[in-house]
Amino acid sequence: MSTTAKTRKYTILPVTRVEGHGKVTIHMNEEGEVEQARLHIIEFRGFERFILGRPYWEVPVIVQRLCGICPVSHHLASAKAMDRIVGGERLTPTAEKVRRLMHHGQMFQSHALHFFHLSSPDFLFGTDGTASSAFGAPVAQRNVLAVAGKYPQLAVQGVMMRRYGQEIIRATAGKKIHGTGAIPGGVNKNLSLAERDALLKEVEQMLEWSRGALAIARDFTMDHLVELLPFGSFDSNHLSLVREADGALDLYDGVLRAVDKDGRKIVVDVNCQRYLDVVSEEVRSWSYMKFPFIKELGPANGWYRVGPLARMNTCSFIPTPEAESARKEFLDLTKGRPNNVTMCYHWARMIELLHSIESIRELLTDPDLQGTDLLASGPRREEAVGVVEAPRGTLFHHYRVNRNDEVTMCNLIVSTTNNNEPMNRAVTKVAKDYFTGRTAIPEGLLNHIEVAIRAYDPCLSCATHAVGGMPLIVELCDASGDVVDRRVRN
């Protein structure tokens, strides 16, 4: 990495409470000003090659190996692509609803986990008694164990909500690891009455807890507006799927829509099969991860955000009543214009949590889930795209399959990659706002960087978790690149 003369470099490795491994470098000049900050994603590459040559029907199971955090999203995105390969994209009502239930189960457990056990320490211990920061909690409190100690009822809710979502996945996908529920053209099982009744028993409790979580996120935001509005914030474009018929929030299927910072539609409801007409990716020498952008606007102006915040900004409405009411309240903050406040990702995420549990409740009482018509088919194709809104944002799967049923091309753009540029901008914004003029890194400021990244809930695609953890390493390098200070936290 090149640095200018007399530039100081801070390295934070890895970013804590973020899935996988990442590294942040902050480059400061001799005047003590932040010149640049970068988030380096250490991504495990080679997965797309691993898929090549495999029979297409194996792919929805194989792709779950990519990530231990959101395997269901990869399962469904690839299954949607393979639906088209077998000509079965018009799913039966049972197949579509079982998949939607699976997807909402994944969304519910992922959002609950992130909120209660990754981000809530930032909220609940925001004021440490000495700092005025909304997220200046002492390091000892910035973890789920502290939450369990001081707010055991919230920790229990988080555990039970995560477990509930996992049970939905188990019931619809067959098992939690390498689920097989979605197959090309449909599903391989419906939801039994016993499974439905077990899930229905707890759904009202889950709904109640979701309302509570939303209230915490909303109130925290409103109570700390002065600090949160500028924190890691910047204007941006926003991209997501929306329902084709009416622009409603749709996490499972739809068309691509993007809006700019003022809410103007810059990608107008484009069929996902044409995603390459809309999106391109830029390679930068210092990062393994690519930088997607909207083609028509180019890399400088076409980058965009995805995920809960983006989805609140792109959709015309949310098709469940309580979440829609919450969305309207959310948009009141920015007077109906797109919300570009990075820390509002948390509030948006909790609106989606509520939407998912409302949707789960509605689906569970739908008799189509017990239907027996599970598969659709039609004319065979050789190329297809599958797109879903994963918990962290838009997820693209693109395949070509030859006449021997072997995959000959695979291209994935995962949610965290879509948010690559925004995360870098958030880190830079925080670094410039808080690090300028400093010659050392106070503990609280390290957390500021992490808070900005955690808002995006990135999954850094590293699903090996053998015994032994990665410490947090902080390195201070002088102008010549030598490490002059190094801190390790375990």
Partner: protein, 159 residues
């Protein structure tokens, strides 16, 4: 049978070579159909395992360990109250800590670390080293479980 309740959680990603040791152990134990044993398998250890742990008297966390000196080790794990930097996954001690604080339960925890050699590639299938570790652990663990359940391995009768 009214013996002690034992849970084995094998975790890791079977799509990342030897990282699949934990799930492979879980599959091996399930095949043995040990009465009264609960077996769970997952990509990684997470917070919801605290609720499951709280329903048992003993919990064995089975994971791959590239630094294991022998084919495997089994050592007791204490609740980790001090906290640490975590990703989306948590450590065995944290699961026990959450079980205590959230569910008022104190199961006895053990970490089964199995020696792994290959963790940096995609693909199913264990290396020879990992296979050896798995076999050794599967030979040993039923006796340990029976001991914790308080029954004879051979007869299943409570001791």
């Amino acid at each position: 049978m009214t013996g002690k309740r034992v849970l084995v959680i094998g975790y890791g990603n079977p799509g990342r070579a030897d990282d699949g040791l934990g799930p492979a152990l879980a599959a091996g134990l399930e095949a043995l159909r040990i009465p009264g044993l609960t077996v769970e398998s997952d990509y990684q250890l997470s917070i919801e395992h605290a609720a499951m742990a709280a329903e048992h008297d003993f919990v064995v966390f089975a994971d791959a360990d590239p630094l294991a000196a022998g084919p495997f080790y089994l050592r007791q794990v204490a609740p980790a109250a001090e906290g640490r930097f975590t990703s989306h996954s948590v450590a065995p001690g944290e699961v026990l800590h959450l079980a205590r604080y959230c569910f008022n339960a104190s199961p006895e925890g053990y970490l089964l670390g199995m020696r792994a050699a290959v963790l940096d590639r995609f693909g199913e299938g264990l290396s020879g080293t990992a296979r050896e570790s798995l076999d050794a652990a599967l030979r040993y663990l039923p006796r340990f479980i029976a001991e914790k359940q308080g029954c004879s391995l051979e007869t299943g009768i409570l001791l």
